[in-house]
């Protein structure tokens, strides 16, 4: 089951885990990304291009499903305004084999950082706001996946 979605309300991790888990898979790898309250961050606002983000997420999900033998895949990205501690992104990848679940999860989270059409605006406790600049490091991690990899 591939479940890919964008939501503007809170991501309920245990509920999503239950949904994902209905089958009882051999191995499940997950990644949860949350808003960090560094440097007095008060709010993170994620703006997205709706059609392009939807297409980007769906393509990523299908790329992972083509590359690894997965029994289930969940990929949920939050957009809109959120506060520190809230979940921005949830990736769940399950497979009969642990190496495939782990690799798919890592692939998805690395590629998410570069492939989706999202812009982040930070608002700090003192009222300052700034739009986050893209980070080169993310591209480096994502590009690792362009080379052929063993296993999987």
């Amino acid at each position: 089951m591939i479940r890919v979605l964008i939501r503007s309300s809170a991501i309920d991790v245990p509920a999503e885990l239950d949904l994902h888990d209905a089958g009882g898979h051999g191995a499940s790898a997950s990644f949860i990304g949350r808003v960090r309250g560094d440097d007095g961050l008060a709010e993170l606002f994620l703006e997205h291009h709706p059609e392009m983000t939807a297409t980007g997420l769906a393509d990523l999900g299908h790329a992972a499903a083509d590359r690894w033998k997965l029994s289930a895949l969940t990929l949920i990205h939050r957009v809109g305004a959120m506060v520190p501690g809230e979940t921005i992104v949830l990736v769940l990848a399950s497979s009969p084999h642990r190496a495939e679940a782990l690799a798919a999860c890592e692939f998805l989270i690395d590629r998410l950082k570069t492939d989706v059409m999202l812009w982040k605006r930070e608002t700090f406790a003192d009222g300052r706001t700034r739009w986050v600049e893209p980070r080169e490091g993310d591209h480096g991690r994502a590009e690792r996946w362009e080379q052929p990899v063993g296993g999987g």
Binding site: G33, E47, H49, E51, M52, T55, H77, I88, V89, L112, K113, T114, D115, V116, M117, L118, W119, K120, R121, W131, V132, E133, P134, R135, D138
Partner: protein, 85 residues
């Protein structure tokens, strides 16, 4: 030529709207020309498009370079480089 333009991130903030339908001169043939024209059109455009190298574009949902032609476009989106998920 009437064209739907969508703005995102600080381009949207500086333009003051998320999108608009703009009647552009026939002489505007590609993305780069459109960005240059928007920069001269009014104050908000001057602010949003002062640095064309920081602007990216998508035509009907597909990322395009500055020399991409506008003919046949339904919607053009203009925005800064994405910051990712």
């Amino acid at each position: 030529m009437a064209l739907d333009i969508a703005y995102f991130s600080w381009v949207r903030e500086r333009m003051g709207v998320g999108g608009e339908t703009v009647d552009i001169p026939e002489s505007i043939g590609d993305v780069a020309a459109l960005v240059a024209w928007l920069a001269t059109r009014d104050d908000r455009g001057a602010l949003a498009f002062a640095e064309p190298h920081r602007i990216r574009a998508a035509i009907d949902g597909v990322m395009m370079g500055p020399d991409a032609p506008l003919s046949g476009a339904r919607e053009i989106a203009l925005f800064p480089p994405v910051t990712g998920g």
